[in-house]
Symmetry: C2
Subunit: 367 residues, 2 copies
């Protein structure tokens, strides 16, 4: 017997929306239809997901709906204004009006681009998100951050735009490559590290089950992660304060992604290394204990994530990219550090020498 | 002696902002500085405006501000995602952070693109508008509609995004070509037609002064137009209802612009023909009297605006483009018509034969 879907509400006033989580969510046509406004639907997906799930997904729509699809190339390198324009092409070639509903069926790249297209098409249309990777299920399904990359910086062009609902189907994770499962776990570990020590400990105990794709463990980890993120986002939708703590590991991580070229390192992999760097920095400030710092590195390793920076990158490379990070205020570099395991703090760093030291140390850490 | 600037407040709750109108507003550095957040400023302008006003404008900024400029090619054909990306290039090459202030110095195209870039850059940064054409002063300076065109439709990609303030300098109109002055007057006439019969009558009496660029007449016309628009926008920021009436003449007008290629017809010229078509349709429904219909056409002619559709376009061409208009709801074509002179109504047209008849009649109207 199939368990009923769990429902989590993201509380954002008139922009509130529900997240449905569980086995077979992708087939819950009646839930989906509640959030479709008119007869026009455009499903945006990619070349990897389409052969696996698209035709079965499309077939379940009733005939009264006019369902079109747009299949984009797969990968972070395609998260650009040019690819975004392909969604607009599809919308306009199908003469979609302001009542159209866009459905993102795919990982973070598809979700970010489809959401941004929905935010911009005719200055805003309906949007439903169906994340198909662990990373997008625990990260981009909450918070409304949409956008594309620019050759000079990741996620530099975008909008805050909330979906009407999110459907998270845990069964689709069965086709997710191991490397991407681990990348998703990096963000899951992050929630434990920044705001829930108990969840961090649960992860230490249940990492094997998660890697074996145990459905109950995955459902619990996804729901807890989404809940943590929803709590933070509800307090600070536009990231003027506390929301920035969700970027733990991301300032260093974005530098890796930008320098190495989008798609060479998976986002979660770069975030894992970034979390280790931020944890080291936190220890340097005598905030985080050496023991807790070691636990973060150990949990990342257990999740089969990298914990050392790319050999080719030196501290100067990191700092160059970190200086253009969105979170920075005037000349300092804004870092998210850990006051202790389970509690994050914003830290405006002006001591570049110290930053250099922490970054360069990442080569010497034993794996 | 110079008159003090007039101030009009656009009332949008926490997104409210002031419009400063009058001679020499461009030189009011102290007003400008009040709305600049940090040291980073990017002025976006075009190749026509730059040689006339840019260096004098830049020179007045104090040294503590880091002022960069981005000069775009001039014209509606450049209002694209590609040109928008040049603004992002400039922002990222100058390492601008989230506290940067974008200043649009130019007409509607520059204002729409700069505003959209501000809406999207790092998911939203500060934005100040200095419109330099009559059209942009009376139209795009109020309402927060920003965006770019797509090859399949005008303004199809964009955002609602409000500036921090708007500076309208009537003296810059001295360098505006006659044809563009007339195009701006089309939007001025529109406000009279849709919501202020008295203002329409004032325009009938003062059109010569406006064409002679009499400063007092221009200031009055601009202020009244902005005020009318601000009243409508305050009631309906996201265009779910009454705001659509501001599109009087635009549904037909956009069809002309799209079919003829952006930039061949000026926006205001297309709107003038569109207003005549919409007025004819209103008369057909026995809403508008034949006399008042004739006054609209006469006032457009007095303002040296076209009142007949391009010979090359037939009714089918119009209808094809009008079907993808943003205002449409399901299969009908949404028109803005006049219940009487000074009062607009939304009308969902399903009678394509009648629409055909009205459009084709525009060849026979004597000029």
């Amino acid at each position: 017997m199939k368990n009923p879907l769990e429902i989590l509400n993201v509380d954002l006033g008139e922009r509130s929306y529900p997240i449905y989580i569980g086995q077979g969510a992708l087939g819950e046509q009646l839930i989906l239809e509640k959030y479709i406004d008119s007869s026009q639907v455009l499903i945006v997906t990619n070349e990897t997901i389409a052969p696996l799930y698209l035709s079965k997904f499309v077939d379940q729509f009733p005939e009264r709906l006019d369902v079109k699809t747009s299949i984009l190339p797969d990968g972070e390198i395609y998260k650009t204004l040019e690819t975004l324009n392909k969604i607009f092409d599809a919308l306009l070639e199908s003469r979609c009006n302001r009542q159209v509903t866009l459905i993102a069926l795919g990982g973070g790249v598809i979700g970010d681009m489809t959401g941004f297209a929905a935010a911009c098409y005719q200055r805003g249309v309906n949007f439903i998100q169906i994340p198909t990777t662990l990373l997008s299920q625990v990260d981009s399904s909450v918070g409304g951050k949409t956008g594309v990359n620019h050759r000079l910086g990741k996620n530099m062009i975008g909008a805050f735009y909330q979906p009407k609902c999110v459907l998270i189907d845990t069964t689709v994770l069965s086709t997710l490559p191991d490397r991407e499962l681990s990348a998703g776990l990096a963000e899951v570990i992050k929630y434990g590290a920044i705001c829930d020590r108990q969840f961090f400990e649960w992860l230490e105990q249940n990492m094997e089950s998660l890697l074996l794709r145990d459905n109950a463990a995955l459902t619990y980890a996804i729901k807890t992660s989404c809940k943590k993120k929803a709590e933070v986002v509800a307090k600070d939708e536009k990231e003027s304060g506390i929301r920035a703590t969700l970027n733990f590991g991301h300032t260093f991580g974005h530098a890796i992604e930008t320098q190495m070229g989008y798609g060479q390192w998976l986002h979660g992999e770069a975030v894992a290394v970034g979390m280790c760097m931020a944890a080291d920095f936190s220890e340097k400030l005598t905030w985080l204990s050496p023991e807790d710092n070691a636990r973060i590195r150990a949990l990342c390793l257990k999740a089969k994530l990298p914990v050392m920076k790319p050999q080719a990158m030196v501290a100067e490379d990191f700092i160059k990219h970190m200086k253009v990070d969105k979170k920075n205020v005037s000349a300092s570099i804004r870092l998210i550090l850990l006051k202790t395991l389970g509690e994050a703090r914003i830290y405006d760093c002006t001591d570049v020498a110290l930053l250099n030291e922490v970054i360069n140390r990442q080569d010497q850490v034993p794996s």
